[in-house]
């Protein structure tokens, strides 16, 4: 899974106050494709941008477990149940790798989680849509993870070392996520008429939100230019979105399903698909927390955190007691 940066751009003042020579050296290193590591000097705005982006990414992994968890007990076979459980388990691990990468920048996981629960931190808009039939699980693996992989492959070369290494590990593990989703769609698309309708219905609902996962268009993406300069982002939202569409349309054709975009057509000259306008009003509404199940998602996270607090407290109390015993 993945996230884009929805926040307002940083004030440039903080950067100006910093040592110009160190800043120049930093910019040169980044421009030369060197990796920045935790103990290296870095501009404060670079650190803040990374904390925001990596924590949003981590939150997305964790919240992303919820729509799939909805189908865990109702997966149509033991095979599908085991696969879905393994995938959800991976997403939890991905959240952990990302929180760890953020912690190398001097924040602690508790404060990041608190920012999510208080509604100050964002996560990917895609998870504020409901999973209403089994085909949605196939569509999520195929489209949502497909879009995430498109973005994460590029992030393996992001300039911050711990983030890049987390991405390498995540990409390696995610390679099965998209394939299991596509395979589930293939079974439905070749099944009964009702199953095929389910698959088409899922594609109809997940297509546009998946395209929005790449974030706003480049001319309306306030943080993109600086993030590209710092090589936090390696490719723009529109470049990645186009690549995803070009890769995915033939996959839909192979399923015998149709993309819900009447304007979609192959352009022989550019060797890319042209596509219809995205409903950015809907996107910004979901960013603001007006998604169909936004409140439910956040509440599920807060409940999990609060209802399990006693487990964390008991574990710490036990460890303290053992340490005291040993010291005595």
């Amino acid at each position: 899974m993945y996230t884009v940066d929805y926040s307002k751009p940083q004030e440039p003042r903080a950067v100006q106050a910093e040592d110009d020579a160190r800043l120049a050296a930093f910019d040169a290193r980044v421009a030369a494709d060197d990796f920045i590591e935790p103990k290296d000097w870095m501009p404060e705005a670079y650190r803040k941008t990374l904390i925001r982006q990596i924590s949003q990414h981590a939150h997305s992994e964790v919240v992303g477990m919820l729509p799939e968890g909805n189908w865990l007990t109702r997966a149509p076979s033991l095979r599908r149940k085991a696969i879905l459980l393994a995938k959800i388990q991976d997403e939890g691990g991905h959240g952990l790798y990302l929180y760890s990468a953020a912690e190398t920048l001097g924040v602690c996981r508790e404060e990041l989680v608190e920012a999510l629960h208080a509604g100050r931190a964002k996560y990917s808009t895609i998870f504020n849509y409901p999973t209403i039939n089994w085909a949605d699980i196939g569509a999520i693996g195929w489209l949502v993870d497909g879009a995430a992989i498109m973005n994460q492959v590029a992030l393996q070369r992001t300039s911050y070392g711990p983030y890049a290494r987390a991405m390498v590990r995540i990409c390696k593990e995610e390679s099965f996520h998209q394939r299991q989703g596509y395979e589930a769609m293939l079974v439905l698309a070749n099944g009964t008429a009702a199953q095929k309708r389910m698959a088409q219905d899922a594609l109809n609902r997940w297509w546009w939100p998946s395209l929005m996962m790449f974030g706003p268009p480049d001319d309306n993406s306030p943080n993109s230019a600086q993030s590209i300069r710092w090589r936090i982002k390696r490719e723009t939202n529109d470049e990645l979105r186009q690549r995803f569409i070009d890769a995915t349309v033939p996959q839909a054709e192979a399923l015998g399903l149709s993309i819900p975009d009447p304007a979609l057509k192959w352009n022989q000259a550019t060797q890319h698909y042209e596509f219809g306008p995205l409903d950015w009003e809907e996107f910004y509404a979901v960013v603001r927390g007006e998604g169909a199940v936004a409140k439910e998602r956040l509440q599920a996270r807060v409940d999990a955190w609060e209802n399990n607090a006693w487990v964390r407290e008991a574990a710490l109390a036990h460890a303290q007691k053992q340490a005291t015993k040993q010291a005595a």
Partner: protein, 94 residues
């Protein structure tokens, strides 16, 4: 025995972008001496750009006797690998 010099495990980052990797250990009285010793022992030929030293007794290792219980359960979860899934040959980029 008294006055034994503690052991430190040494990790070297070969270059930025790679993680620190365990290379061996040194004996040293304190952390900063351990870094110096590690520098002298393990990076004489430009093997790295960064060092970590960790007190050996701070590492908790899994018991080799538990290896089967810990790691064998992953063996039959072949569905965690992309090759488990059949995707038609004409479908690309997946």
């Amino acid at each position: 025995m008294k006055n034994i010099t503690p052991i430190w495990e040494v990790f070297v980052r070969a270059k930025n972008g790679l993680s620190h990797r365990h290379v061996g250990s040194v004996h040293a009285a304190d952390a900063s001496s351990a870094v110096e010793a590690a520098r002298d022992v393990y990076t004489r030929r430009m093997e790295g750009v960064s060092l970590w030293v960790v007190p050996s007794n701070a590492i908790t290792a899994s018991d080799p006797g538990d290896a089967a219980a810990l790691f064998a359960p992953a063996e039959d979860k072949i569905y965690r690998h992309p090759t488990f899934y059949t995707v038609p040959d004409n479908v690309k980029h997946i």
